[in-house]
Amino acid sequence: MSDANMEENVEQATSSKTISLPISRVRLIMKSSPDVSCINQDALFLTTKATELFVQHLALSSFKNGSGKETNTLSYSDLANIAEETETFQFLTDILPKKILAREYLKSLEEMKKEDGNL
């Protein structure tokens, strides 16, 4: 093989290396599912890459939809909002609950009690 060829190969190797997430940790999380026994290398790579895309997608869309455009900040509430509003992010609502004040929560609890009483 010629030197030029090899250089090309090295370049390709580094371009596929663009994953910034730790692969071993992704594997750890994947393996923590009880039904999963074996994970193909390609599947592991794809999941890692997908997670990376997902994180970027989540961050960007919450920033665009969020309130912090003027101040150039991405805050928790932007994330919680997007999780609630966007269908594809619905599975995040458990991990990204909207923050509400305790007194509002208590109020809603009371209202629920009243409704129960009326029934």
């Binding site: 190969n9 750890l28 790579f45 960007l60 990204l96």
Partner: protein, 160 residues
């Protein structure tokens, strides 16, 4: 199994494995990880939430993909399962970039193999300069990382 059950499974799983999140100081501390426009500050809370969301995403994707594997009575998760899972999760937008990434990755793997063979030859000749050596060493580390994975499934997918 429908998506809702999968979602429930994922949440229960997450509760027990909450310790295994991506959260540490190094992950997502770089701006380029999030690909946000320049000068955007991400609050600490948001950062943590994002890394937790990433962990949930991995679990969700794994359990979706595993369903496809189980349907086909396979024990090993393969690339096709992950792709099918992405579709099921309505992340079709990821399919194309993922396909490209996988192709690049496979090419890279082949390149690495060729490069390490080349390296062996070079070692016999012992005619490499410093620069090349350090590059080769980097690649070696990567190969080690991959080898401790599951090798069982690898053969199935070689043809694709």
């Amino acid at each position: 199994m429908d998506v809702l059950t999968v979602r429930e499974n994922t949440t229960t799983l997450l509760r027990s494995y909450i310790g295994q999140t991506f959260y540490n100081k190094t992950v997502f501390s770089k701006k380029q990880d999030l690909q946000l426009p320049d000068g955007v500050n991400v609050s600490k809370e948001a950062r943590r939430a994002i890394s937790q969301a990433a962990s949930v995403f991995v679990l969700y994707a794994t359990s979706c993909a595993n369903n496809f594997a189980m349907k086909a009575k396979r024990k090993t998760l393969n690339a096709g399962d992950v792709m099918a899972a992405m579709e099921e999760m309505e992340f079709e937008r990821f399919l194309q970039p993922l396909r490209e990434a996988l192709e690049a990755y496979k090419k890279g793997q082949k390149g690495k193999k060729a490069a390490s063979e080349q390296k062996r030859k070079d070692k016999k000749k012992s005619g490499t300069d410093e620069n090349d050596k350090s590059r080769d060493e980097e690649e070696d580390e990567h190969m080690d990382e991959e080898q401790d994975g599951d090798n069982e499934g690898e053969e199935e997918d070689v043809e694709n």
